[in-house]
Subunit: 140 residues, 2 copies
């Protein structure tokens, strides 16, 4: 077992994870990262655990979780009793929200696509279906 404790500066961590230094400090302020050990100089000193946690945060963000939700996920992931159940639940909620958003966007896309298709691209403005849709009373 390798229990060697490496010590990384905030800049090194930032580079490894591909995130800005300011973002790391911001996450710390927001409670997404624990307060790190400090060197005598006051410099933050990080170990591998922080790298993992930062990656966790970034992946969760990529999956559409807000920082607020991620904060919660981090707590849950440490709960050996109810953690997994709650995590799955949060993931399902997120999934439902994403699906809703997709559906909304698809409706918008379909509406817009139909307008684009029906517009000849020339002629008088008052005959342009796009402008008409934007101006007229009813837009289905």
């Amino acid at each position: 077992m390798n229990t060697q404790h490496i010590s990384l500066t905030i800049g090194a961590v930032a580079k490894r994870v591909g995130v800005a230094i300011d973002t790391i400090r911001y996450y710390e302020r927001e409670g997404l990262l624990p307060e790190p050990v400090r060197r005598a100089s006051g410099y933050r000193s990080y170990g591998e655990g922080t790298i993992a946690q930062l990656r966790f945060i970034r992946r969760a963000k990529d999956l559409g979780f807000t920082l607020e939700e991620i904060r919660e996920l981090l707590v849950l992931s440490a709960d050996r009793q109810r953690g997994v159940k709650a995590v799955k639940q949060r993931a399902q909620q997120r999934l439902a929200a994403i699906e809703l958003r997709i559906t909304e966007l698809q409706r918008v896309r379909d509406g817009l696509a139909q307008l684009v298709e029906s517009c000849p691209g020339h002629g008088k403005p008052e005959e342009c279906p796009i402008l008409r849709a934007l101006s007229d009373e009813v837009l289905s």
Copy 2:
């Protein structure tokens, strides 16, 4: 032809269109609405044209255009020469952006759906596929 000029207060316009008074003043500041005629008291006085324009703005917003883009659409809609062509172009760009966004979200949804599906909803955190995906090195 009915050229009767009605005169609406900002509050009446807001109610008709279903938008807040502050929003109307905000759009005016932002150049999306022309500066209206004023009564002797300084009150804004609006006609039907404003109603139409406000609805235009709202519909365009519903189609995913930003206020910046809408400002442009408003200019283009008044251009009798090149207006229609340019409007169609903007609509196509918007459409492409929405489609890109949908694709992104679908990828996220698929990833998340797979994780949710493979998670039993109980057991040890280190065996939860969701937590593993968030923590582990590679997430396809």
